[in-house]
Amino acid sequence: MFECETAEEWISVAIDGELSEQERVAMNRHLVSCDACQKMYSEWVELSQFVRIELSAMEAPSNIESRVQFGLRATADKHDLIRVNWAAILLFSLLSVVCAALFASPFGRIAWSVVKLIGLGLRTSTAHLGGWMSSIMPTSTPVIFIALCFCMAGICTLLVIRIHQHWRTAS
């Protein structure tokens, strides 16, 4: 026998049109003979309509569009910053590799010979200062050269970032 407790559950599903044909027939048969369930059905239909109407009447505040534009700009700036950071890392790596390649190339050997000559000159001229500089100069010369290469790569990278920021501000 179809009970009111079952009908109560099925009324909610019936309002949403989700009952199977068999369930709908059984429920309708019960509603015909049960005033309480009929009343509940009407009330729940009204409740559903009330919720829909009241919700649909709510309006978004007038500043939502400007808030969305602000949010889009903030997201674009964040993505841009990530892109610039990655570009800077790649550029720095590339310039370091280029500098290292130059160092290993014939041009690098010529430059290294020039540096050795300069080092020799400095060692001779600093010999009068007690010799401590003359002792460290030969061993530190390659380190200084490599450090110079990285510094140049870093300066070029920072310059590119600065130019990009200036261009972004100008546009």
Partner: protein, 184 residues
């Protein structure tokens, strides 16, 4: 959906900023209604609405069928609103005094507005649990089927059915109590 709406959506998918601005104008109320219905909080709903459109802008190029835009953006809004609820729960435990003080800061509105004698939906929705409110909004505002709701919320269809039943029963009880008080 009208052909003019589909045209605007297609342009927005292709990257037209003006078309996207038009979409924001056309759908801001719908997204806001979804957010406010799930959260029962107008201020949080504004934040969710903003975030919905910002996320939609990034993901719009992946939308294949313009006619699915309303459902698509409503799904985004629903998920962001649910994330907001989870964040709220992590920040303020359910039974802590802090949550009570946060709730007290909300403007207190009676279920019945005395001037108009009308029911205030938000106050009624606040009486429901978050789960009940969510299925209610997905069904009543977004007109989704039980299967669709189950898919969006990742719950069984039977759970959707029982939550909707529970939500309606709960709302009806609250409204009946309110009407009883009104007549006293």
């Amino acid at each position: 959906m009208e052909e003019s709406d589909k045209h605007v959506i297609r342009l927005a998918i292709q990257g037209s900023p003006d078309a996207f601005t038009q979409l924001v104008q056309n759908y801001k109320h719908y997204v806001y209604q979804t957010a406010v219905g799930i959260l029962a909080d107008k201020i949080e709903a504004e934040d969710v609405t903003q975030e919905t459109f910002v996320r939609a802008y990034s993901a719009l190029s992946k939308l294949r069928q313009p006619e699915t835009f309303p459902t698509w953006i409503a799904t985004i809004a629903t998920r962001i609103a649910l994330d907001s609820i989870r964040r709220r729960k992590r920040e303020v435990p359910i039974d802590s005094p802090d949550e009570q003080s946060v709730r007290l800061e909300q403007p207190v509105v009676d279920e019945f507005s005395k001037a108009e004698g009308r029911l205030d939906l938000l106050s009624l929705l606040r009486k429901l649990s978050e789960e009940e409110r969510t299925v209610m909004i997905l069904r009543e505002l977004q007109d989704r089927s039980y299967a669709d709701i189950a898919h969006v919320l990742d719950i069984p269809v039977g759970t959707v059915r029982s939550r909707l039943h529970s939500a309606r029963k709960h709302l009806r009880q609250v409204m009946n109590c309110g009407e009883g008080d009104k007549h006293v």
